[in-house]
Amino acid sequence: MTTTPDTGATDQSPSLWLSFWAILRSNPLFRYLLRRLGLAVLALVGVIGVAFFLTSVLPGNPAVVRAGPLANEERIERYEREMGLDRPLVVQFADYVVHLAQGDLGESWSSRQPAQDELRARIPATVELGIVAFGLTLAISLPLGILAAVYQGTIIDWVIRLFATFGASVALFWLALIGIHLFYYEWDIAPPPLDRLTIGTEEPPSVTGLFTIDSLLAGDIKTCRDALNHLWLPAMTLALVVSAPMTKMIRSAMLETLDKDFIRTARAVGLPPRTIILVDALRSAFIPVLTTSGIVFGYLVAGNVIVERVFSWAGVGQYVWQALDANNLNAVRGFILLIAVVYIVLNLVIDLLYSLLDPRIRLN
């Protein structure tokens, strides 16, 4: 067997890769992430299929919507051809998947713009509102849930549970309107419920798309304040409603934890109640709370149609609402995919957080 210098070199690099791969594979975190990624891809494929076929059977013909009231058969047929609706559904699906693989969600049939561009333009508004609302939710429900658990059975517990029941039964729409009426119209401490910035304010140069952060990055405190000013009322509205289940959840998780043996130990050795509640109990209670938090956070960043409508907040919730109304299927499908991705990522993050918070949980 004759060897050329060439084969020696090419021999080496795959073995290098292989050993690199072997090292990676031996890392449990990497193996875990790899498997989760595989599962995520499977889940996404399922979502794509279900989203496509479910939206396809929605009543209404998008070509009819495009034709408008001055329609006739010939024009409707032409639009069906243009929009590819005249092809068998399976062919449409194959075409959709091929485009999707290239990052193309298809045309938004209302505006004739790429659906992914429109969604991308709407996501930051929803995410920013969702994050602030989530922060407020925690700020409300953590202390309340803890207080209710610690003072179980007292008037404090009773009042907090009343709040939670109220929050669970109040209509979001009504609460948003009341909020606007009081804070904007009557007391003038909230800005006009018109999207994210005061009319005439320049958007900060886009980095994250979140105006609060982008304006700070640009060193523009005034715009940041304006953005916060527009955020707090819609975020508070969402937070008040979402806090109700969160508070209940935190309360019961805390109650359960406070009954645990190790809490009794902590008390038996004389640790101060603040340490016991905030360090021992809360950290343990966080594990069930984390799951609820994931659902709540997902709900908040998936775009809330009601709050977005009432505050003229141009987020994905409103976008998909309009898209549904107009039979704008590519936009609806894109939204569903987005939500699927959000939940898949959230689940992964939560699982990783579990393993960070709880040494008993191993990633495999």
């Binding site: 179980q152 043996d261 004389g270 640790l271």
Partner: protein
Amino acid sequence: MDMTEPLLALENLSVTITDNRGQSKPILQGVSFEIYPNEVMGLVGESGSGKSMTALAIMGLLPRRAKPQSGHIWFNGHDLLTLSKREWYAVRGSQLAMIFQNPRAALNPLMRVGQQVARVVRLHQSLKKRAAYEKALDLLQQVGIPDSQTRARAYPHQLSGGMAQRVLIAMMLACQPRLLIADEPTTGLDVTIQAQIFELIKTIQAEFGTTLLLITHDLGVVSEVCQRVAVMQDGKIQEVATVGELFAHPQHPYTQHLMNTLLRVDRPTNSRA
């Protein structure tokens, strides 16, 4: 028996518990006994007899639904039942401490055991963080944990039950309490480990002069470790006697019954050597 002032005296203690439907029933009725400094007192009875409730009452850790109705718990000249929440935190740990059955569940599952011991050290011995940790390692070594440096970094679920109980004992040592209550400290541990734990408790008791209230259903252990013993049934003390008296002449029919049932269990005698 040294008949000085008792360290702890229960006087006619009655406790009732209220169930979900608001009906209350007594769980302790007129419990009275004393514990003297430096002695090891046993509290025996079948499960449900009120042993653990008595201990929790002494610690001020009764469950929410259980309420003392009458009586006194004298400790150091104070009635513990009259202490405020704030005062309790000065007493627990430094004066009274307690270890529990099921030691792994009694440790915080989310915290490394060394940290758990160290923060008790800091609390009671006002040391800096680093020094407290060093001290905690010492204590872990003292309670017979080999390679304490490494074990201190373990989480409770990574320890055996015996190791976990040693960690708990180390925590109690960090408190340096005047009275230590041990509630079935070896339940669920296998027999060789049980013997080791009792050996440890005995050693510590001898070394630190801690007064010990040992709760158990195991009369064998009582005969081994305790000087005096109280027998409980249905929330009442049936008999208080020295170990010698009790085993020689059990006064109460219930004690006799207990001896018959509990001693019938074959115990490997070599484990108590």
